[in-house]
Symmetry: C2
Subunit: 303 residues, 2 copies
Amino acid sequence: MSEKLLVIGSVAYDCIETPDDSADFILGGSASYAALAASYFAPTIISAVVGNDFKESDIKRLTARSVDISNLQFDSAKPTFFWRGKYHENFNSRETLDVRLNAYEDFKPALDENARNAGFVLLGNISPAVQSAVLDLVREPRFVVLDTMDLWIGTERDDLMKLVRRCDLLIVNDSEAKMLADTSNIIVAGNSLLKLGAESAIVKTGEYGAMLFHKDGFFTIPAYPVASLHDPTGAGDSFAGALAGYLAGCGKTDFASIKLGMLAGAATASMTVESFSCYKLEENGLDEIERRCEYIKKISQIQ
Amino acid sequence: MSEKLLVIGSVAYDCIETPDDSADFILGGSASYAALAASYFAPTIISAVVGNDFKESDIKRLTARSVDISNLQFDSAKPTFFWRGKYHENFNSRETLDVRLNAYEDFKPALDENARNAGFVLLGNISPAVQSAVLDLVREPRFVVLDTMDLWIGTERDDLMKLVRRCDLLIVNDSEAKMLADTSNIIVAGNSLLKLGAESAIVKTGEYGAMLFHKDGFFTIPAYPVASLHDPTGAGDSFAGALAGYLAGCGKTDFASIKLGMLAGAATASMTVESFSCYKLEENGLDEIERRCEYIKKISQIQ
């Protein structure tokens, strides 16, 4: 039975330079990508703050996908969270050229009754302090997914570790897993994540796919093969959003369901990287997600 | 119906230093790993040369696995091919500290009638000149697998490209594929490999597994999860050996059979890296390979 998913994280304007292209002040942020991805699978509520420069047309992009914006706050005194980043040759590395918290400097999360009663929560990538503050407001979350990044592992490790113990599923990428576990072996790293307190952990491996470490077993899924990489920004957020949305959508949290959630995540994330911002994610729709899910099943079928 | 597999490449003595351990003058070389791996699946003939320091006990390791050594040459004037290598912290990089061709300096491949009639050929990693010279001697190979490395792509690219056009299946790792195709996108790189003239190409992605690019489809397989990495030397050779052995063993070369060959390769290679030299590869046996094949099937099963 479908349950509601609460997505928290950042809503941002990004200026992005890739080896072949650039775009200015496009809708970005972990919560934007995650909520739009989740919206294909479950009723999705977004908790975030935007500033005085936020465009009505970008609000409409969320509501067009039926994302519930009742808990999206507006800060009339400051601009929207801003990030300027550059991908170097071959997308091998990413550099943050400028980051301004803006509206997030004074962000005091507040949730309405509907959001406080959400059964599924995705703590999208943002500081552990903000993630904790929102989680505190949720009454009885059935399943909490935590996404994070190397920045917080480096600067707010203690807060992050406390939060991990309150979560059911931790999502990191391969280098973050190795950093957290202080090992170069991805299998050892993944198994170590389970000892941090979450019941299960997913290690994303970019163009190779993702691995699930769970008390009931180990699982790997390949990435959908993308020949036209345009902008990798938001791939991880879209993966987490579609995964959490899938679980909320079927109201299940077991090993088999998380595997199917990863399938939804891999298919959805592959659309995000084919354009700047969430354009392909919004445009391609559920039919294309389902087609990509079938294709991923096919390419991972041994016999 | 089972056919004979001819494996060519190097037989070497290696001195290896890993972050945790070291070993001196252990049996190594692409043909040793590949032939021992292949021997679990098909009648295997090895073509290589060893020197005046080669130990009887190491000959017995090959014959104990029924590898046909009729085409293994002995050079009484020179020592065996020698390689000294060091894996740096976390196995992130490997450095060749010393390499001596020794017996391979004057290696003139010669094959007996039995070897010349082999239906399946694995051109294991060695110079394209030696690989070509051996392939010239095989009468009517049904299926030729070519394994190579960055060294030859860098130094003997033209010879290598000529050889690729005579082969059915090219095997490289991810960085070599990107180098050959001059792109950072692994999907674009893999598809480009098909344009070089081989009917199919496998891109190995280390701890993540391998991808097959084939005219009949695309396929990915995860690596068997190894928590106790001891020495990665020979993993690629073992993968290629088991794969080629599997195909010769069933006498098939279609897309579905190559997929199953990759399964055999992934399972077998995972044993190689759990010890120095081929010790675990020899010791664990077919039962363990089959167990690992089943496990890989299980962890890649989405539904």
